[in-house]
Subunit: 221 residues, 2 copies
Amino acid sequence: MKQNSNMPAFLSKLWTLVEDTHTNEFFTWSQNGQSFLVLDEQRFVKEILPKYFKHNNMASFVRQLNMYGFCKVLHIGSGIVKQERDGPVEFQHSYFKQGQDDLLENIKSKVSSSKPEENKICQEDLTKIISSAQKVQIKQETIESRLSELKSENGSLWKEVSEFIVMLLQNNQPVSLKRKRPLLLNTNGAQKKNLFQHIIVKSPRSGLYMYIFIKMMNYLF
Amino acid sequence: MKQNSNMPAFLSKLWTLVEDTHTNEFFTWSQNGQSFLVLDEQRFVKEILPKYFKHNNMASFVRQLNMYGFCKVLHIGSGIVKQERDGPVEFQHSYFKQGQDDLLENIKSKVSSSKPEENKICQEDLTKIISSAQKVQIKQETIESRLSELKSENGSLWKEVSEFIVMLLQNNQPVSLKRKRPLLLNTNGAQKKNLFQHIIVKSPRSGLYMYIFIKMMNYLF
DNA sequence: GGGAATATTCCC
DNA sequence: GGGAATATTCCC
């Protein structure tokens, strides 16, 4: 095995200790070389772990195996003796095979690849979102002031129109006399009725001022 | 020393081993109890470090001290013998004083306080910003459709008013005859002139249509 | 099986 | 002195 500088210590240690023929009795390759076996966990923990690592906990060893993508091989109580508690433990990784140390370099740690990228993306996205939100906010202010202008102008226009009508009615002049089409045509359609047709046809004079007043209130407040 | 569950193992170990009177010969409090001394680095590394930690490197011990905010005390060659290479090493922390174990809880790791919070804030803020941006976007759509409504209605009203004026002028009726005050009073003030006074006073009839046409174009497109 | 805190190593 | 990778522990 060529010890590349970018090969994690855990992997080279694992390879070394599974290759070590002195411990084949309780830690060795499986028959077909596709996985490795811990045949005696007690001896493995006491005799091997402290020799290669800074601990003697099976859990920490397994945590590292999981960190590098190894999977426990399940023995579904077939022909294996004493399965209950301290039976043999088997681990497997598609790039950890007997006689194929050239595959080892494909084994990657799960933290080294994922965590840093997420943080970088988080920072970039944060910047993008903030600047985008600021632009929307600025545009919103522009729109709101434009809206306020239009609202005010609209109120004034309604007032104008109503005063025109009042003036004409006071002069006993028929409003729609010389007109070919309705006075208020909404460009976007039917939602609002034609105010003046409505007034002239249906409203008595006493109702006219109330109608105009309500209309104005809608636009001024 | 009360071993709180939130006290890092490194700090309680450090306190224990500096308090240990058996090792006062080469690892102990300074005279005034404001700092601690490594009088014999060789013995400290070989006899103490592996007993309390999972290593025997002075560098790793110092790395942890720095991680928890301890500072090396500089001896600027005053009265101290053999300063050159393996002289005594002294470390100090404002919350690590002889006889004051109650201060220990104020010592914080530099990573445990800064890194996780940044990430948590990043996540929380991300959620807040996104939901806030969505609300702004929704409101913006409401405002824009309201604006579009008003714009259209405003155009229609200008059209109405202009047609009134045209009608009145065609009937040779003086527009401002019976009025006590200007026709177009903007509620928010002076920005826009009184259109009709302007027209009546200054515009010849030929200019009136052009003026109204421009006004309408502004609101319809 | 894996997230996250703490520890150790490596490196500037 | 401290940033960052890897290792070990603790916990769900």
